[in-house]
Symmetry: C2
């Protein structure tokens, strides 16, 4: 079916979509016929052919235009964008969006709108998670005969860029400023550095992998603002690096991955030999472990004009050719656990003295945590020593309890900091 | 459209397909109704439900059965299998195959059969390249608005397993025997170790990425049988490892990737920081570099019952849902070059003496090759010294000429061995 597209949003990504569809694809199957922007007088990074495409600043000019059968939403946000997407579906128009926050926060409403939409339009969102990596399509079409046991992703280029810089020795404050100067990080970087962006994305990946809607409020989320250069020193001595990772994994109640589903976001100690450990700069990666395949990993650019536009164009052309499948898998019943299990790394800041290990051991025992290793780098100041404990597999709640106990000890000078440790790949 | 499937072949992969479709997918959209095997009396690794599926040893029982609308070909080979595929298409049946050799060797005939097939059946072959990695679907659907500049793949698990073992210090002969004992390598390992398997696969990937049919006879192909432990020593000192890689890249005549297409197979020096350098064991990987995306890489299991069956099942379900696109892209005109360009590593075995570098330099100059580095590990026997030369970007023909020149020198004791060096990722 030839698509006549109304695009809402004419910024960086929108310009990329227009450019690729006109200059590269140039197919009668997909024409951008109307573009809605906030301010018609603002200079644009792309030139529209007035013979084939009109500009407007009224969303209704797109939504009420019955000659348009596809809406590409690249305005962002969860307010007006939600209205746009639901109304477009309500009019039976195909919708293509890059809006992960919208999908993560309003999944049930969007699913309801899709299933009641007249004519059964497609809803496609390849660009919403890991910009240029075709992970949505892959999870939609390649795992039907398989059982996914875990999905983990580096889904935020900004924080990966920052962590790579910190690994090189820079401080959190420095690299944040650098990321902002380069335009990677927003003036208000909260969504990136506190893990909210990753949380939205891992909830979408969990839906695709397990058929379960995971409310973002049920996802324990820790960002990178507490990561320090000391953590990178210990990471190095453990053969690891630190990555901000969204994880959605079945727990192993009976030795197999048959327990409740845990979805969480946290900076993780990742072995440098793990595919996730090698992702540099603003790159993204998703690793899917499944019964048929073992681990498969998909890596590529996570954001940027052309990677994101490329995924939107792929969605558009699949719809135009009638090859786009269902947006979401059949709903499954699966218990959710917010208390995930992992081996953990715990950094403890102390003033040095006698009897410390005994006291730490007592805190661990009381919390039901089994200690694996205790590491201490060279001490330069006995009043400010950071050492670390690694644990056997424990529950998040146990580790949090242990950190609370540790906080109460007289020689502990700061709130202890914890991170899960990623298992080595098989 | 509900598929009634006739499967030709009931071995490891066929059993996996039957198992996944009955046990996991269990959808009325896809039923294996008939299986053709060579020997009906042979014990099988899977049990067929006689209520829904009959076994036969006659291919015509499948091909002439008008109630079957899909043939899954998992018998392998390029003789009978070719006949099966062409006749099935001729009868308008969808075809799903894992047979890379068949596709690579008979692509024009298969394309002709697809385009003249009544009813426009699908032809799907996700399992033919890199078993469990969805690289076929990805190249078919994710790069339409993009321009691919290079595709490179570790597409043969057996040789990757062998090279990883050799990196650990074992000899070629030892690891070949080990691979054979483990069932990775055939009794006649030629197709794997001489690169013929990779050659078939890279010709298919080149077709998908560039729209060009590359006859396998036009693909310079070098296997791993000349790789030695000395090469791994030099690789290590260069921050590299050695991987058998199929490459299909546009050459850079004008500083952009706008020159002829080079497709070749060779063991390559690969930086360990490159995604290809980290692929262990029998793993596979494909890295696609394109104008929109930069580099994206897809890694996973390359072979085995369930990874391969999983890809076949994904094809089957896409066809059943009407979501399978065209098998091959529009044909493109693109000049082919069999004389690829790369920086090279050349290992030279000599008896040590004076004036060697001067003579080697003269050979390089005569061949138009510019030398980058000369490396020599610690010498234990002056009569049997291996040293290596790395070159600036040169043509294969120049490097071959240089090796011929070197062979004529009195102090050179063996045929010099060369390998292209993979550029570092950006």
């Amino acid at each position: 079916m030839a698509l006549r597209i109304g695009m809402i949003g004419g910024g960086t990504v929108g310009g990329g979509v227009y450019d690729l569809l006109t200059r590269r694809v140039s197919s009668p199957l997909a024409t951008v016929s109307k573009i809605c922007v906030r301010d018609l007088t603002k200079p644009r990074s792309f030139t529209v052919d007035p013979q084939t495409c009109t500009m407007t600043d009224k969303i209704d000019d797109v939504l009420n235009d019955d000659t348009l059968n596809c809406v590409v939403e690249v305005m962002g946000g969860t307010g007006i964008a939600k209205d746009v997407v639901l109304r477009a579906l309500g009019k039976g128009k195909h919708v293509v969006t890059a809006n992960k926050a919208l999908i993560a926060e309003h999944l049930p409403e969007i699913q309801a709108a899709i299933s009641s939409a007249p004519g059964g339009p497609s809803f496609a969102y390849e660009a919403a998670v890991c910009g240029g990596i075709p992970i949505i399509n892959t999870l939609q079409t390649c795992y039907e005969g398989d059982v996914v046991t875990s999905v983990m992703g580096i889904c935020n280029g900004t924080t990966n860029f920052m962590l790579c810089k910190m690994e090189g020795g820079e401080d959190y404050g420095e690299v944040l400023k650098e990321a902002q100067d380069l335009g990677f990080a927003e003036a208000d970087p909260t969504a990136d550095v506190e893990g909210h962006d990753v949380r939205a994305k891992i909830s979408i990946l969990a839906k695709l992998a397990y058929g379960v809607t995971v409310p973002i409020s049920a996802i324990p989320t820790k960002g990178i603002s507490s990561v320090t250069s000391v953590d990178f020193e210990y990471a190095k001595s453990m053969g690891c690096t630190i990555k901000l990772i969204g994880t959605a994994a079945r727990t192993s109640e009976h030795g197999e991955h048959d327990g409740p589903l845990s979805v969480y976001v946290a900076p993780k100690m990742v072995p440098i030999t793990h595919v996730m450990g090698g992702i540099g700069g603003a790159g993204n990666a998703v690793a899917v472990t499944s019964e048929n395949m073992g681990m498969a990993a998909y890596t590529g650019p996570g954001a940027g004009r052309y990677p994101t536009a490329n995924s939107i164009v792929a969605d558009v052309m699949r719809i135009a050719r009638g090859n786009q499948g269902e947006a979401f898998p059949k709903s499954a019943e699966l218990e959710l656990s917010t208390d995930y299990e992992s081996a953990f790394y715990i950094r403890i800041s102390i003033s040095d003295g006698l009897g410390i290990i005994k006291s730490v051991g007592a805190c661990a025992e009381k919390s039901g945590v089994s200690i694996s290793q205790i590491l201490q780098n060279t001490i330069s100041d006995r009043e400010a020593v950071d050492f670390c404990v690694t644990t056997e597999v424990a529950l998040l709640s146990q580790v949090k309890m242990m950190c609370e106990e540790l906080k109460g000890l007289s020689f502990v000078k700061k709130e202890p900091s914890y991170m899960p440790i990623q298992e080595k790949p098989e």
